[in-house]
């Protein structure tokens, strides 16, 4: 068992202050724009932590978090559209269906390692998208409309703000616990050398499957809430490769395989995205067209730079200053 690193008073006070600030914004801030942006931050924090278990600790580069997200979103969509179930019920069900999907499709994929796993998951993402377009019960390209929650806009926005925030905090806490548990150590062992881990008695298959299903559950819940929040889903949006890529990018920027990484990476990447959007529009570099692609060029460049110079992300860059207590 790894000894949990002792934390000084500073970080605890800082975290409490941030949390207080977040709650305060949720309760009293007037502008819905900020609330909505922060809700997106929490949504991606949830997704990134969900990816982090298998992708960060386990070293299995999953390029299809959008599939779990999309399956959750469609579960809510179909249940709410067809049966009028409440989102409080459909979101956990979205998680459950997503786990079932992961068990059926994802678990066999875990036989494949390294770059092939990444490619395979990407292909499975395309497959899910094609299926969502063509199976009868998803309404294909028409998409699904869900009637909004019966409250005023502000209350709805606050509801999702606090729900996503709560979930993101729970999952982050859970990830922190896992990091210092036997399960976390086993995942890291799988990442470092799967064969050696197996020889030393780590039940590698079980560990990988558990990490995959846990991640699939949280991503499914996130997707299940998303449908209710946005009110409309269609295959290109919820199964988008962009979602999967963003998740990987955010984890890598912060530091994959640490529970603090997503806390740093998600807000930073979203801040950069926001600045680019505002900045490029103001400069008028590309005329009136929405330069979403410019974003992605920059993000691609960031991904290259991180992989070349900072493979452990911001956490890796910060570590030397904190003293390497856990190093032998």
């Amino acid at each position: 068992m790894v000894e949990p690193a002792r934390v000084g008073r500073g970080p605890v006070v800082g975290a409490a202050a941030l949390l207080g600030l977040a709650v305060g914004i949720g309760l009293w801030w007037e502008g819905l724009g900020l609330l909505s942006t922060l809700t997106n931050v929490f949504l991606f924090l949830l997704l990134t932590q969900a990816w982090n278990l298998l992708g960060g600790y386990g070293g299995y580069l999953n390029l299809a978090m959008a599939v779990f997200f999309g399956v959750g979103a469609y579960t809510t969509g179909i249940l709410a559209y067809g049966w009028g179930l409440s989102p409080l019920l459909t979101a956990p069900l979205g998680g459950v269906v997503s786990v079932l999907w992961a068990a059926a499709v994802g678990v066999p994929s875990l036989r494949v390692r390294g770059p092939y796993f990444a490619v395979l998951t990407m292909i499975l993402g395309f497959l899910a998208q094609v299926l969502a377009y063509n199976v009868p019960w998803t309404r294909g390209a028409m998409g699904i409309y869900v009637s909004p929650l019966p409250w005023d806009r502000r209350t709805v926005e606050q509801f999702f703000y606090f729900t996503y925030m709560g979930l993101a905090l729970v999952v982050t806490g859970l990830t922190a616990r896992i990091q210092s548990s036997r399960f976390g150590a086993a995942l890291v062992a799988v990442r470092e050398d799967e064969l050696a881990a197996a020889i030393l008695g780590v039940r590698t298959t079980w560990v990988k499957v558990a990490a995959l299903l846990l991640g699939a559950f949280w991503a499914g819940v996130a997707g299940g809430l998303y449908t209710q929040r946005i009110g409309y889903i269609e295959p290109t949006g919820v199964f988008s490769l962009d979602i999967s890529v963003d998740v990987v990018l955010m984890a890598m920027v912060g530091g994959a395989g640490t529970w603090q990484g997503p806390l740093l990476g998600v807000p930073l990447v979203m801040l950069v995205a926001e600045l680019l959007r505002v900045g490029v529009v103001h400069l008028g570099l590309f005329g009136a067209r929405i330069p979403a692609e410019f974003n992605r060029v920059v993000f691609g460049g960031i991904l290259v730079l991180i992989a070349l110079y900072a493979p452990d992300g911001l956490m890796g860059l910060l570590r030397p200053f904190r003293g390497r207590r856990l190093r032998v």
């Binding site: 994929s109 770059p115 395309f126 063509n134 692609e293 974003n295 060029v297 960031i302 290259v304 992989a307």
Partner: protein, 292 residues
């Protein structure tokens, strides 16, 4: 369904297959010789298509000539990618190499969208639309030219690898880089040549594809999937088995196109690819571990 229709689909499948083989052979080569999964492969395929478009629009250079011009240009691009990106990650980890190439893919794809927008293009080369009758089957000239180009390139690559000293050295690096180093081979330089050649064939494949299909910057990932399908079916690093696998995939797509409702063709091919990756992925891995 008439037998004639089926036969026509199969003939078309042969042309498709030859082009798929050309599109895939670079992926197979870099993977088989260097153990690098080139995620950015299809981005270079797409750039090849636009290269042909620009040469045709700007200077009226016909596509076949454009393919020949593309070879050295994209060889240089591939060599630069190896020199600047892959060499650095070679010593760290596999995952980082993959991420570098994935980042490159994003940059190339979205840079292309900024440059050429997301509109779907067709190569405005009039002769491509002409329809010939070959042995009783109607074939568009564009397909014929594309297939001829592909066959010519694959044939030369096969000769290069089998008959020349350079080819021997490349195969030696693929079999055992350490031993090759001991024998005086500059492995880093050969790796650069292999990535360059892989990128050059990708771009030429892009030119050939542009003769057969409309293209757009954001739609290239389909070709990555198809190239993987060919590589997974055909195995690694051997040009002739890549050719065979390409022909097989061409037939598969052509027949699926005739036998299945249109919207299920992709679903079937993706599912087939996922299954083959799951069941043959280990075979590829062991081949790669042998390489490393």
């Amino acid at each position: 369904m008439t037998p004639a229709l089926l036969m026509e689909a199969m003939v078309n499948g042969v042309f498709l297959g030859l082009v798929y083989a050309l599109v895939s052979v670079g992926l197979s080569l870099t993977l088989g010789v260097l153990g690098i999964v080139n995620m950015a492969h299809s981005a270079f395929v797409m750039l090849g298509s636009f290269f042909a478009l620009e040469l045709l629009r700007g200077w009226g250079i016909p596509p076949v000539l454009a393919a020949l011009v593309a070879a050295p240009v994209f060889f240089g691009a591939g060599a630069a990618v190896h020199r600047l990106l892959l060499r650095r990650t070679a010593s760290t980890s596999e995952a980082m190499g993959l991420l570098v190439l994935f980042g490159l893919l994003l940059v190339l794809e979205n840079g292309s969208i900024l440059m050429w927008t997301t509109d779907t293009r067709v190569l405005p080369w009039q002769p491509a639309q002409a329809v010939l009758s070959v042995g009783g089957f109607r074939v568009a000239l564009g397909r014929l030219v594309a297939a001829g180009l592909a066959l010519g390139m694959i044939g030369s690559l096969d000769l290069l690898l089998r008959r020349t000293l350079l080819g021997k050295v490349v195969r030696a690096v693929g079999q055992n880089p350490d031993a090759a180093t001991v024998l005086g081979v500059d492995v880093a330089r050969i790796s650069m040549v292999v990535v360059g050649a892989g990128t050059a064939t990708a771009a030429m494949g892009g030119v050939a594809l542009a003769l057969m299909f409309p293209f757009a910057p954001q739609e290239h990932l389909r070709w990555l999937a198809w190239a993987f399908l060919v590589v997974v079916v055909g195995g690694l690093g051997d040009v002739r088995s890549t050719l065979l696998a390409g022909l097989l995939v061409g037939q598969l797509e052509a027949l699926a196109g005739v036998l299945l409702p249109f919207q299920y063709v992709y679903a079937v091919l993706y599912a087939f690819l996922a299954l083959t990756l799951i069941f043959r992925g280990r075979g590829l891995q062991s081949a790669q571990e042998r390489v490393l």
